[in-house]
Symmetry: none
DNA sequence: CATGAATGAGGCTTCATTCAT
DNA sequence: GATGAATGAAGCCTCATTCAT
C-alpha cells in the first residue's frame, strides 16, 4: 500500500527535479514540457498526470524553494542569541543554499516575469519575516535605529547580488575572504562596528 | 537626405519606445512583434526594416539602458570629491532613474532569462566600473579596506533591491526618510561612520 | 457462476447508464471515457473490460434505444385496430418515451455525426417498419393513397421535431392541447378527416 | 484599393467553402483546422488570420446558412397570395436549397452538439417566423385553427426529415411524385383539402 | 476480475519572420 | 521605404487505449 503510493511519488519527484534543472538552466519560456518529460524519463502525457499545467509545476517549485530556504535559514539562526551571529549564520546558510540549489534559486529570480503575483508574494513574504527580526533587534539595542523595512530590503539586496554573482557568474560559494568583506560591510552597516 | 534619415530615425525611435513600454509591462515573452508595431503606429513588416529580430531590439534596449544609467550616474557624481557624497548622489540618481524609467529597468532584470550573455555582460560591466571607483577610494583611505569587487556587488545589491521594492512594489521613489536609512546603512558599511 | 455473471452484468449496466447520461448531456465528443468510469463508480481500466472502445458503447446505446423505442411503441399500438388510433397512441408513446429518456434520444440525434453508418441505419430501420404499417393501412383504405415511404418520413419528421421542441427546448411533454393540434395535423394529412 | 480588399476576401471565402465541405462531410469534431487549410489551399497559420478559432468559423457558417435559407425561401413566397401556394413554393425551395447546399445544411443539423446555444437559436428563430405566417393565415381562414407554434414545428419536422432523407440518404431532390405526396400530406394536414 | 499509471498521437493555437506589392 | 498577408514550426494540452500489478 505504501509501496503503491511511493511509485507515484517517485515519478512526481523525478518530474519536479527535471523541471527544476531545466527551468533553472534555460528559464521558463525556453523550456518545453516535452523536454521536462524526456529529462524525467517519462512519457509526454505523464507530465499532465502529476501537474495541471506548465505554470502549475512552476508555482510548485517556487513554493518549494520558499519553504526550503526559510527552513534552512531558520534552522541555522534560531538557536543563536545576538543579531550579529544571526546575520553571519544566515548569510552563510543562504550562500550555501544557493550554491547547492542554483536552479531552484534562479527559478525564483525569474518568477516575477512568469507570474507577477507569485513573484511579489515571495519577496514580500521573506521581507516581512526579516523585518520582524530586525525590529526585535532594534528594540534590544543590538542594531542601529532606522526604518526596519528598508534595512530588510538592503540586506536582501546584498544577499541576492552576492549570491547571484558567486553562483551564476563564478559558479562557486564565496571564499572565506569574500565572505569576510561582505559580513564586515553588513555588520558595520547594521550595528556600526 | 538629412530629412529622410531623420524621418527614419523617428520611426526607429517610435518602435524602440513602444518596445520599451511593452517589454517593461508584460515582459519579453508576453510581448509580440505585432503589438510593438501597433503601439508604435507602424506597419507590421516595418519593424523588420529597423530591427533584425525581436531579440535584436531587446538587446538594443539593454544596451541603451546601460548607457543611460551610466551616463546619468556619472553626470551626478563626476564633479564630487568625497566617496560619501558620491554614493549619496549616485544612489539618489539611481532611484530617480529607475522611477522615471521603470520599464527600461525591468527589461534589464529580465535580461538574464532572455539572453544569458547579455544579462551577465550588463552586470559585470557595471560592477567593474563601480569596483574601480571603490579601489581608488580605498587607496585614498576614504573607505574601509576589503575586497572591492565584493563591496561593489554589495552596493549594487542594495541599489537593486531598494529600487525593485520602491518602484515595482510601491511604485514610488523612496521617501526622504527611507533614503536616509539606506544611506546610513551603506555609509556605515562602507566608511564606518 | 450465475452470481458472477450477474455481478458483471451489473457493472456493465452501470457503465451503460453513466454513458447514457453523459453522452446525452454533453455529447459524444465532450464526454471522456474517464468521466464515464467515474460516474459509473468503476475503475478507469474497467471500462475496457466491458466495452471494446468508446465507439463501441456508443453503438450499443443507439441499438438499445432502437429496441426500446420500437418495443415501447409496438406494445402500445399492436392491439389497436384502426390506423387513426395507432397513430395517436404511437405518437403519445413516442413523446412520453423521449421525455422519459431524453439522454437516450439525444444520443441518436447525434449518431449521424459520430458514425454515419449507424445513424442512417437507425432511421432507415424505423422508416421501413413504419412504411410497412402504412402500406397495409393504405390497402385497407384507412389512409389516403400516396408514396408510403414519403409519408413515413413525413410522420417521423413531425414526431422528431415536436419531440425535439418539447423535450429539449421546453423540457416537458406536449400539453394535451398541443398534442391535439399535432394529431389533428397528422390525421388530416394522413386520413383526410 | 478594391482589388486589395478582394484578395483577402477571396482567401476568406476559400477557407469558408473548404470548411463548409469538410464540416458537412465529416462533422465538426472529425475535421481538423489543418484539413480545412489544406483544402482551402492556404497555409496553416493563414486560417487564424481570418477566423479567431475553429468554433468561430463554425458559427459563421451557421449564421450564413440561416441568412441564405431565409432569403431563399422568402424570395420564393413573398409574392404569393394563398397559404397553399406559399407552402408549396416554400417546401420546393427548401428541398432545392438543401440539395444544392447539402454540407451547409448538415452543419446546422450538427449545431446543437457543437454549441447548444447556437443550435437552439437557429431553430427558434426559424420557428418564430414560420409561426407568424401561420397566425396570419389562420386569421384569414386559410388554414385550420390550432396552436400555431405546434403547427410550425410539425411543418419544420416534415421539411427536415424529407430533406434529410432525400439529400443525405438518397442524395437527390425529391421526385415530382414524392413531392406531391408530401405536399398532399401537408396541405390536408394544414388546410383540410 | 479490477485497477489506474503510463503513453503518445493528434488537435488547437500563437507568433516570429518573409515576401510580394 | 512601407505594408500586411502568408507561412509553418513549435508549443501546450487532451484523451483513447494499453498493460503491469
Amino acid at each position: 500500500m505504501d509501496r503503491l503510493k511511493k511509485g507515484s511519488d517517485r515519478t512526481r519527484e523525478k518530474i519536479l527535479r527535471a523541471a527544476e534543472q531545466l527551468f533553472g538552466q534555460k528559464g521558463f519560456y525556453n523550456t518545453s514540457v516535452m523536454e521536462i518529460a524526456q529529462k524525467a524519463g517519462v512519457g509526454y502525457g505523464t507530465f499532465y498526470l502529476y501537474f495541471k499545467s506548465k505554470d502549475d509545476i512552476y508555482k510548485e517549485l517556487v513554493r518549494y524553494l520558499n519553504h526550503m530556504l526559510r527552513y534552512t535559514i531558520h534552522k541555522e539562526i534560531s538557536r543563536l542569541e545576538s543579531r550579529k551571529e544571526m546575520e553571519k549564520a544566515g548569510f552563510a546558510a543562504f550562500f550555501k543554499f544557493v550554491h547547492r540549489h542554483p536552479h531552484l534559486y534562479r527559478i525564483v529570480l525569474e518568477s516575477d516575469e512568469v507570474n507577477k503575483r507569485i513573484g511579489k508574494w515571495y519577496y514580500k513574504k521573506i521581507a516581512e519575516r526579516y523585518q520582524q527580526g530586525l525590529e526585535m533587534a532594534m528594540k534590544k539595542g543590538e542594531i542601529r535605529e532606522g526604518d526596519p523595512k528598508m534595512i530588510a530590503y538592503c540586506l536582501m539586496g546584498v544577499a541576492h547580488m552576492i549570491g547571484n554573482y558567486c553562483v551564476f557568474y563564478e559558479e562557486r560559494e564565496p571564499t572565506e575572504k569574500e565572505f569576510e568583506t561582505v559580513m564586515q560591510f553588513i555588520l558595520y552597516g547594521l550595528v556600526g562596528h
